[in-house]
Each structure stands twice: as structure tokens, then as C-alpha cells.
Symmetry: C2
Subunit: 111 residues, 2 copies
């Protein structure tokens, strides 16, 4: 996991300078991944540490197949990473951007 860091207004302005149309489409694809309650619940569960699929299913009280399908989407977007440990596959957050993005969202809806 990357080191945590702060995001100043200048840094933000610099990041969003000159974004191409293709990059905007990629961004939309990324946010689409956050835009589903099952997936965001999975991410939130993983905020508190790594979990295997069965544990994630129990946390969400959801069908294993539905969860696995969504895990695949999260993996493809590189929001989570996985490793096998015996019979189980352990999932965890890929980096801290996930937390930051969700925190920004939360702050928005709180207002």
C-alpha cells in the first residue's frame, strides 16, 4: 500500500489540468465501479482489513456468486488485490486512493 499523503488545493488543480477526452472516459469507467452499492460495501468491509470471499459474503449477507462477480470487477479496476491462501482467496484494498475517493464522496453527501 502506498504511503498516505495530503491533497492540497494546488495539487488538485495540477492533477486536473489538461485531461484528455480518453482520460475522462477512463475516469467515468473508474467511478462506475464505485457506483454500485454491493461494490462499495465490499470496499468498505475491506477498509477494516483483508478478508476472504466467505467472510465478505457474510458481512454483506449476500450470495457467493454475486459477490465473486463484483470482486472480479473490483479486481479488474485494480481497486482491490487478491492472493490465494490454501482454499481461500484473500482480498484487500489495492491502495489508499480508494479511501480518499470514498471520503470525498462522504463529505459531499454530508452537506
Amino acid at each position: 500500500m502506498r504511503a498516505k499523503q495530503s491533497y492540497s488545493a494546488n495539487r488538485i488543480d495540477h492533477l486536473i489540468e489538461n485531461v484528455t477526452e480518453n482520460e475522462l472516459c477512463d475516469l467515468a469507467e473508474l467511478f462506475k465501479v464505485f457506483g454500485d452499492s454491493t461494490r462499495i460495501k465490499i470496499l468498505y468491509v475491506l477498509f477494516h482489513g483483508e478478508k476472504n470471499v466467505t467472510e465478505i459474503c457474510e458481512s454483506l449477507d449476500m450470495n457467493q456468486s454475486a459477490v465473486s462477480h463484483q470482486l472480479k470487477i473490483l479486481r479488474t479496476s485494480k481497486l482491490i488485490s487478491s492472493r490465494r491462501e490454501g482454499k481461500a482467496v484473500i482480498y484487500g484494498l489495492a491502495d489508499d486512493h480508494v479511501k480518499t475517493i470514498i471520503a470525498m464522496g462522504k463529505e459531499h453527501i454530508e452537506e
Copy 2:
């Protein structure tokens, strides 16, 4: 528009403590709004200042009706605000979270 501010790791951790299931669903709804290329292009155009509907249509090279439908979704989510000025309706970003959220997304896809 709100004053700009920094987001420290501690602040982020504090924001995402104890998020309820309902809040997670609201978050998913919010991110769903960012998860469409038309809408994110509209937001990006508005980064550079207020614009009326015709100008937004020209920037995106898109049909007025399609743009208006998406503007409505952005308005409902309070990501943009609008005011009438004569015949035209002027749209602008509602607050700085939009920029921050998109900057975080961009940083993620850059890696």
C-alpha cells in the same frame, strides 16, 4: 463555492469511520453520477468556468436534449448549480469536492 482545503490521512480516516449501510448506498448513488462519460465531460468543461447549455453542447459536440437530461441528473445530485440569465441557463460547479473527487480518480488511473 467553499474554501479550498487539504485532506490529510487522518482527516480521511476520520471521515470514513462508522459509515452506515444507508450512507454507503447514498455514496454509490453519488459515484454512479460520476460514472458516465457524458456527465464527467460536462463536469470537466465546468472546471474552466460557468457555461450555458448551448456552450456545453458545443464543447461536447452533443445533442441538446441528451445534455439537458444529464444536466438534470447532475443538478439533482447537487454537483452543479444553475441560474437563469435571460433566455440562457448558466451552469457551474456546486463545490470543490467535484474537483477533488475527479483528481483522486485521475491519480488512481495514472498508476
